[in-house]
Symmetry: C2
DNA sequence: CTGAAAGCGCTTACAG
DNA sequence: CTGAAAGCGCTTACAG
């Protein structure tokens, strides 16, 4: 073994590998780093170099590589932290875990690392985040849930996930949003199929992409179906679900069903209905939106429109890496799919008790099929 | 402005700043980078340099800085991904979000970045993770939930959070675990106070630190209180909670209370009790462990021992940064606190209806006080 | 208090 | 197919 093997840091360097293999640093770089000019190298040399690298347990230094290539194979992922109050220590949006899994799936497949940037408030207000973006520490930014302000000024490719609609498509940035409008329509069709005509809506915060799309779908559906729109507003959390359903149930003509623009508010609705002696789904059908894990822990289990954040985030990450690797690629605007998860809070299974435990419908056709099959089974049984 | 301002990457470099300020690169480095020898610099020079940096919107290059300092101010955070089956797309342990928040709190305060490494299975099996550890891309590793195998061989400081007990304290690594034993004892004392003597336990997986500590606490408490220990086992998820409570309720002498070693299993217990017509808390008191967000969405709201993962993870991150900044510092073994969250599934509030909505007890003294005050209020009312 | 110079460990035109 | 050399943009002893 060459004497210089263990350099100051205790780890082998590319020079050590070159000496042991009897070749130049350039050659080692071409082989190990899969770098420029690596196409034509004699098999013998390749062999020798890998053998030397193995012997020395060589690992290329990330900083030196980044400095030489002007690339880090790392992206920044900006996600919101918890909201104020007693939630401050948790992610406010439980779908973030799902998004992170999707991002990890995409990045780990393509050999990228992820720097996690959790932000309370405006990400631009955090000098440390700006430093990461401007220091060359990352090759691109995945911008999750945050409003899009100024992102297009950044000297890096940016792709946004579930960003506020108003700003989408302004600059040269990609956007992947969940498709809440058609998803919500599916939910409303489900209620219509079950015979409801007095359906209210509890809307989430107006500055949120998902919430506004859900409300828009409700308004559109009412107009098309000839329903009278009845909307109460909430902030996305349990308490406002409780107060909103309270107001709805106190009306002279209380709704027979409610489409709640968020699963956490729907949990509040279930609790308040229970404490008022209103039976769900018998007296009131409740359908949520989000697709949080805990819908299956609610009583009754909550039927909901699930946003496929895993897919959305995975696709967004892939788009970002495409932009990084090919600067001529066009940023795109895409939508991730949604699906209706049919559980117990709308009475579908009461009508069709033979139906399997949990079923999903991803589009009007599947919903159609679902209701047809259930009806057939009902007649047979 | 100097002609070289916009170097190839379009961004100002340290050289540009030096020229504009009329000083040497060394000086700029000492001032901007807060580097060696920065103590004695004339105020005028400092002023000039910052002004030039501001004018050029200068941001030091991260890779170059890392290469020069042999430090990245970045840590790797290793967390488990979802388990197999339909949970594969989510973090299996919802406490991970809480841990990430705690880590972010500590690292962002001290100017560190976080590289997120989500792993399915053994982190050592992922060559990309090993590469991050060995390439100098990070200064240390925060090892969350994973078994500790081989971590001490890594050439970096490592701190583990809620790692399996067996391996803890072997090498030169720090460990911060949640203090499940005393926490669980608190839960059992709560049940004892409420008059229960036939208390069963549903244990989580034996290869999990939290689960084994909870079971140990149960065994110890039974021995001390003279209770007959009755243990059923589960895997931590809802289904096994359902089957375990089924077996317990089918006994000739069914328990009047059950300490469930995990909130998700406890949800299964609540569901199964309901479907069997067993009223909670009247016929059966149920107490969970973990402190998941969704305990407040359950019916009845689940009383539980919450593990303070935010604190645990924050402390662990701080310990790791201490080790990085002072290689002579000793890795330590610490515990993060737990607290009993008293909600509705044990009947405490049925006995003492005047009591506030949600209360916590962090230690035996507080639990004592809780019960005493509740009793007094009860007598007065 | 400040500067010139070597060094960190790679990558990549440019020759050959 | 391979090597010598310049360059990436910082940091830091070493002089002065």
């Amino acid at each position: 073994m060459p004497e210089s093997e263990a350099s100051r840091s205790g780890r082998a360097t590319m020079d050590d590998v070159a000496k042991l293999a009897g070749v130049s640093k350039s050659t080692v770089s071409r082989i190990i780093g899969r770098n420029v000019g690596a196409i034509q190298i004699s098999p013998r040399t390749v062999e020798k170099v890998w053998e030397a690298a193995r012997q020395l347990d060589y690992q290329p230094n990330a900083a030196a590589r980044a400095l030489g290539r002007q690339r880090t194979d790392t992206i920044a992922v900006v996600v919101p932290s918890g909201s104020p109050g007693h939630h401050e220590r948790r992610f406010s949006n439980l779908k973030i875990s799902e998004a992170l899994s999707g991002i990890d799936r995409a990045t780990s497949t393509r050999g990228y690392n992820v720097i996690l940037q959790i932000t309370a408030g405006d990400p631009f207000d955090d000098p440390r985040h700006r430093q990461v973006w401007a220091s060359g520490a990352v090759d691109g930014i995945l911008w999750c849930w945050e409003p899009l302000r100024d992102v297009e000024q950044l000297p890096l490719p940016v792709v946004a996930v579930n960003a506020v609609a108003a700003s989408a498509g302004r600059g040269e940035i990609g956007v992947v949003n969940t498709d809440d409008h058609p998803g919500s329509t599916l939910a409303l069709q489900h209620l219509a199929r079950l015979g409801h005509t007095r359906v209210a809506h509890i809307a989430g915060p107006a500055d949120n992409w998902n919430a506004t799309e859900r409300r828009r779908a409700y308004d559109d559906f009412c107009a098309a179906a000839g329903w009278e729109p009845v909307v109460e507003s909430g902030d996305g959390f349990e308490d406002t679900g409780i107060s909103a359903i309270g107001r709805l149930l106190s009306r002279d003509d209380p709704p027979t069903a409610v489409f709640v623009g968020g699963d956490r508010m729907a949990i509040g609705v279930l609790a308040e209905a229970r404490s008022r002696g209103v039976r769900v789904p018998d007296d009131l059908a409740v359908i949520g939106a989000d697709g949080m894990d805990f819908i299956r822990f609610a009583t009754p289990r909550l039927t909901t429109v699930a946003m496929m954040m895993y897919e959305a985030a995975r696709d967004a990450a892939n788009m970002l890496m495409d932009l990084i690797e090919d600067r001529t690629a066009e940023p795109q605007q895409r939508f991730a799919s949604t699906q209706l998860i049919v559980l117990d809070s709308c009475g579908f299974r009461r009508t069709y008790p033979e139906h399997p435990e949990e079923t999903v419908a991803r589009n009007p056709e599947e919903l159609d099929l679902l209701h047809k099959r259930a009806a057939e089974a009902h007649e047979r049984g």
